[in-house]
């Protein structure tokens, strides 16, 4: 077994010993979507407008939190230091995390999308597999950013505080609350460089139309590029020698 799959299996085994976390990761997005559907009972078109983007935002937030705490734990318990003295490449370690949490993200996306489209009546014009793809990419984006910021946190308190610091601004500016083309130019410019904006744009395009246009492909490519860039930066924060 290679180091990548061994690491992914190890992360999944850790999760298996923690059924409450699995339940929270998988069920909370579903419950929130159901709550939202109930909230907008009188205007199904509002649910259609924000339900799609939220299918991408929930996995993003959940994976950000889970990864930043999990990586911080590796650092604080000394297991990261042990791993870095062993014959494992940093790419295999990070890839193992991405693989394991990516699988969880697939299950989460299947459940949330299935519930929204099947039971809650969310109108999705585009292909369901594309919705799943974007949701999983969003989860990986959260994972990659979580991994990156955990290097700047010394305690779990600090790690959790990065959620409002890194995730909330992206949420406010992603176009869900105010459409991005109606924003003040400065805010629009900021929103243009935040990866979540492209994730939400992709979801909006997918739920609104069944054609796969070049803009959709571009949005997906930007999100995927950001995932790779953040994972690469995250790898740089794993130092074999520490002071």
């Amino acid at each position: 077994m290679n180091a990548l799959t061994a690491t992914a299996l190890r992360v999944l085994r850790q999760l298996r010993h923690d059924p409450r976390t699995i339940a929270l990761m998988l069920l909370v997005p579903c419950l929130l979507l159901a709550l939202l559907r109930w909230l907008y009972d009188g205007s199904p078109q509002t649910f259609d407008r924000i339900g799609g983007p939220l299918l991408g935002i929930f996995p993003f937030v959940v994976m950000f939190l889970v990864t930043s705490v999990a990586t911080l734990r590796e650092r604080s318990t000394g297991t990261l230091e042990r791993l870095l003295t062993l014959p494992i490449r940093k790419a295999d370690l990070i890839g193992g995390y991405a693989l394991a949490f990516g699988l969880v993200a697939v299950v989460q996306a299947v459940l949330a999308t299935g519930l929204s489209v099947g039971l809650l009546g969310l109108d999705v014009a585009g292909a369901t597999w594309l919705v799943l793809l974007v949701a999983v990419l969003d989860a990986l984006l959260g994972l990659a950013l979580g991994l990156l910021v955990s290097a700047f946190a010394n305690t779990e308190f600090q790690a959790v505080q990065f959620m409002p610091a890194v995730v909330l601004p992206q949420f406010l500016l992603c176009g869900l609350l105010v459409p991005r083309d109606q924003m003040q130019p400065v805010l629009r410019a900021i929103s243009d460089v935040l990866p979540l904006s492209y994730a939400v744009d992709a979801m909006v395009r997918l739920t609104g139309s069944s054609e796969v246009g070049s803009r959709l492909v571009l949005d997906i490519a930007v999100v995927a590029g950001c995932v790779l860039a953040a994972l690469g930066l995250g790898a740089l924060t794993l130092r074999r020698r520490t002071p």
Binding site: R10, H17, T77, E81, R82, T85, R241
Partner: protein, 269 residues
């Protein structure tokens, strides 16, 4: 003479003759002029020693004297190391050493939310060690009854043994063990020292730290440290003869007094 070699070969040359002349042949660890700076403070000052292959060498000294830093330097996880430090004939921290050196930190570094076997299977996979290695190390640290228990349910001593077991996987040539017997029951402590000597008899080299001077009696070679400096490298009988004392503890005191810096505060100034 040494200066001429220096000019001829350069300080860090690949075929440094001076380096070959000074190195003890076949030493597992060989250090000269070793210096470590942490947060602006020099925590290891001009340390030189060599650890013979196949020996159990004790690294003894009070807590805070730099034992852990020295071990971190040997395993290649310590930053800001200067001087010469060769491990199994390679510079410390070389990637080729990653499956040849086993390192056990003072705090057990295993996954608390996994079982003993799950931990060991993971580390064995990374080391490409054979699957039966897991059974061997479980038996070596006497954790057979707890191998299916999650590490978080184990006592502190048992956790320390899981961490040790992980380092034994793949049969490393050098084992660096930071205070492996702290807080263990005397019977277990005796058993672990017996294990260390069996491993050395099979050809492994062990560097074991302790702040308990009594443990000196269990080591073939001793490195005595204090306040970032190496006071002595000797065997226990030689050390006792040289200082005219009858225990490691009093030999340690005699060494400090002979240096004339008995007061640690004074020494630092």
């Amino acid at each position: 003479m040494p200066n001429r070699w220096f000019i001829l070969t350069g300080e860090r040359g690949r075929f440094d003759i001076r380096r070959m002349l000074n190195s003890a042949p076949g030493a597992a660890i060989d250090a000269d002029g070793l210096r470590v700076v942490r947060g602006g403070r020099t925590v290891l000052r001009d340390v030189a020693f060599s650890v013979p292959r196949g020996s159990v060498t004790g690294l003894l000294g009070p807590s805070g004297c730099g034992k852990s830093t020295l071990m971190r330097a040997v395993t290649g996880v310590q930053d800001n190391v200067s001087g010469r430090l060769d491990v199994l004939g390679l510079p410390a921290g070389d990637r080729r050493l990653r499956d040849r050196v086993g390192y056990v930190t003072q705090a057990p570094s295993v996954y608390a939310d996994l079982t003993v076997r799950e931990n060991l299977h993971y580390f064995a996979a990374l080391l490409r060690a054979p699957a039966r290695d897991v059974d061997r190390v479980v038996e070596q640290v006497d954790l057979g009854d707890h191998q299916h228990a999650r590490v978080e349910r184990l006592s502190g001593g048992q956790r320390a043994r899981v961490s040790l077991a992980a380092a034994l996987l793949g049969t490393p040539e050098l084992l660096v063990l930071d205070e492996p017997t702290v807080g263990l029951d005397p019977v277990l402590r005796r058993d672990l020292w017996a294990l260390f000597h069996r491993l050395a008899a099979d050809g492994a080299t062990l560097l074991v730290s302790s702040h308990v001077m009594d443990e000196a009696e269990r080591c073939k070679e001793l490195l005595l440290m204090r306040d970032g400096e190496l006071l002595a490298q000797d065997t226990l009988p030689e050390l006792l003869a040289r200082t005219g004392t009858d225990s490691a503890e009093s030999a340690f005191l005699a060494l400090i007094e002979s240096r004339g810096d008995a007061d640690p505060e004074e020494a630092r100034r």
